[in-house]
């Protein structure tokens, strides 16, 4: 029996379901035993540990990652291709949503066994909507509607805001940018983050902040505050990842409605898909095979169904959504989620090599400076673009 070690962070978000999946896997055969290590912190901390493991020579066989760090694993040559693995289970492979699957490929090679994919959604405090004379059933779809609704929902004194539509990373930014016709990387291979679409977006958000329609949160307090503001009824619309669905709806005493991400007037929304998959680090063929078999158990219809129920993510395995006893009735009961899953999406861009974190962190800082008016949108984004080019060149 081969024992393989799989590491995953974000225990609160999806740990329980992962435990279930591998428990079933372990029970279902006796060639491979999965030793799952969960850790309840960000993926960043998980990566830090994996780094230490690599140095120490105790590299795990697979590690769950998000798109944000996928490139680091690939570009360093650590991540092992998984095309052959997936091909070894043709039936399952056929059931996968090819669009979502693309998010896990780089230059045509599959580097992570997909597990789930989340898209953004506009979380709406339906009670507040009604109180402000708005209809949660017809949520804002464009920036101008968004701004109008935010104006109606905020009291302008900084106690109640209408909206929170950014993140301290490029997840939301890139979605808006793509929707407005921009791109992170221009056709010339240079950074596109200082283009007019990006500047427009930042200027729009700065206006919302200035008018007290939207709070400006710094990176460190962002995640806790964003959730708290929404749950406490201080922000009526929260544009965030749908993976927050369960936790955001659990601890509130008001109705939550969901809507697709709004886009700039005159454009169709394009959202970023945040992939959650497993990178294989094992290099020994026998271990690779064992790891492969374990990872394949993640994408069975049953597993995907369980995952979707737990995380409100998009179903990777199309079969799962179609089989009534798996997800069919889930979507019947949670119609809101259908709305989210029907958004157009693209994989979330990350910088190559080891540069993404540094870029993301600088993005968060610069965005905060722009939102608080410490720097102008154009200046800030120019700085960001310069850094991005430098980082890309350095890899």
């Amino acid at each position: 029996q081969t024992e393989i070690r799989i590491v995953s962070g974000q225990e609160r978000q999806n740990g329980a379901v992962l435990v279930d999946i591998f428990k079933r896997f372990n029970a279902g055969q006796n060639r491979v035993l999965v030793d799952l290590e969960l850790d309840n912190r960000s993926d960043l901390d998980t990566t830090q540990k994996v780094l230490a493991d690599i140095v120490a020579g105790t590299t795990p066989d697979a590690v769950r990652i998000t798109g944000a760090v996928l490139r680091s694993y690939i570009d360093s040559g650590r991540a092992q291709p998984l095309d052959a693995c997936l091909a070894s289970a043709p039936k399952l492979a056929a059931q996968l949503d090819t669009g979502l699957l693309d998010g896990f490929r780089v230059n045509g090679t599959l580097y992570a066994m997909p597990w789930y994919v989340t898209l953004p959604a506009l979380f709406i405090n339906a009670d507040a909507f009604r109180a402000a004379g708005l209809d949660p059933e017809s949520p804002p779809a464009t920036w101008s509607e968004l701004e109008a609704a935010a104006a109606a929902l905020s009291n302008g004194s900084g106690d109640r805001y209408g909206l929170l539509m950014y993140m301290p990373n490029t997840y939301m930014f890139e979605g808006q940018l793509a929707s407005s016709g921009g791109a992170m990387v221009g056709p010339d291979g240079q950074s596109g983050v200082a283009g007019p679409a990006a500047v427009d977006q930042m200027a729009f958000m700065r206006r919302l902040v200035k008018d007290k329609r939207m709070p400006a949160l710094s990176q460190a307090v962002f995640w806790g505050e964003a959730a708290r503001l929404f749950q406490a009824g201080e922000v009526a619309m929260l544009l965030t990842s749908s993976s927050s669905y369960n936790s955001l709806t659990a601890n509130v005493n008001f109705d939550v409605a969901l809507a697709p991400m709004p886009a700039q007037d005159g454009h169709d929304p394009i959202t970023m898909a945040s992939g959650n998959g497993f990178v294989m680090l094992a290099t020994d063929p026998a271990r690779q095979e064992a790891t492969c078999s374990a990872l394949l158990s993640l994408i069975t219809p049953e597993s995907v169904a369980a995952t979707v129920r737990a995380t409100a993510s998009s179903p990777l395995n199309v079969a799962a959504a179609e089989i009534p006893e798996l997800l069919g009735d889930f979507y019947a009961k949670n119609r809101k989620l259908v709305v989210i899953n029907s958004q157009m999406s693209r994989p979330w861009y990350t910088l190559p090599g080891r540069a993404n974190n540094e870029f993301q962190s600088n993005f968060g800082d610069i965005q905060h400076e722009i939102l608080t008016g410490a720097t102008s949108p154009q200046d800030g984004l120019n700085r960001l673009a310069a850094l991005m080019n430098e980082l890309n060149a350095g890899q």
Partner: protein
């Protein structure tokens, strides 16, 4: 009469000091009150109403902590880890501090410098090499990883050395003349005398390792050897924000044994430090 005037004035002074201390105590205790208040408030009430008052008393958060976190195991681990570190420090640091303060030998000044420099090295700076070392010995995920790096505590040596310097050299010389070897001096004279100082650094060592989160989170991958702060972090998620209720309940449960311990050992602590920093009668 003068008596009365004097008495009254000193009474007013005393009352004034108490009031000033109470005002400062608000600052010191407010976070604790928020912690307690949050831990006793039902999850959906935490952000509503006045955050300073406790209106919706509930034990749900504690129930969740006990349900979701193997707190007893953490306590046990905590005591094992902290206790072993303390014993190790006593065994390693007391002799070294004695030698560095009261024995003459070539290289003593160099040894002192090494100890002091080690006390200053920020331990995040050396985390990865230490990790590699521990893993070479298969210690990752074990109690050993939480214990070994802290046994050679430069801080304890520093504190103990201050203490030994305050003991007249003639006491040690006298023991030499009485025919005791350095080892027997250590056992018969130094250890009994160092008791107050040992208690002092014991409390400080206990507090810092009981509460340490960085290191356990770095070298542990599962609950096997996890200490109590793990229980708190269980309810913290970088991307979703914190689950404040249970988290604060866990924090309360973490601090509790320390507080009880401190209240018991308080008198000794002061006495020990008093000796480390100066006069012995």
């Amino acid at each position: 009469m003068t008596t009365h005037a004097g008495e009254t004035r000193s009474r007013i002074m005393q009352a004034g000091i108490h009031i000033a201390l109470a005002a400062g105590a608000v600052f010191m205790l407010l976070p604790f009150w928020l912690m307690l208040r949050t831990s006793f408030t039902a999850p959906d009430q935490i952000f509503s109403g006045n955050v300073l008052t406790l209106t919706h008393f509930s034990l749900d958060n504690y129930a969740r902590v006990f349900a979701e976190v193997p707190l007893l195991r953490y306590y046990l681990n905590g005591f094992v880890v902290v206790g072993t570190i303390f014993l190790g420090q006593v065994v390693i640091c007391v002799p070294a501090a004695y030698a560095l303060s009261r024995l003459r030998f070539a290289g003593r000044e160099l040894g002192l410098w090494i100890v002091l420099a080690a006390m200053m090295v920020p331990y995040h700076a050396t985390a990865i090499p230490i990790y590699v070392l521990l893993s070479q010995f298969g210690l990752i995920n074990t109690h050993g990883a939480l214990i070994l790096p802290f046994i050679g505590s430069a801080f304890s040596v520093f504190l103990l050395r201050q203490f030994f310097l305050s003991i007249p050299q003639s006491v040690f010389e006298s023991a030499r003349l009485d025919g005791a070897s350095p080892y027997r001096i250590l056992i018969h004279i130094v250890f009994p005398m160092a008791r107050p100082a040992i208690i002092t650094f014991g409390i400080l060592s206990f507090v810092s390792h009981w509460n340490d989160y960085f290191w356990p989170s770095f070298v542990l991958r599962n609950d096997f050897a996890a200490t109590v702060p793990f229980g708190i972090v269980r309810f913290l998620d970088q991307e979703l924000g914190a689950d404040y209720g249970p988290q604060m309940a866990a924090a309360t449960l973490t601090v509790l044994p320390l507080l009880i311990g401190f209240l018991i050992a308080q008198r000794q602590l002061i006495a020990g430090i008093a000796m480390s920093s100066g006069q012995v009668d």
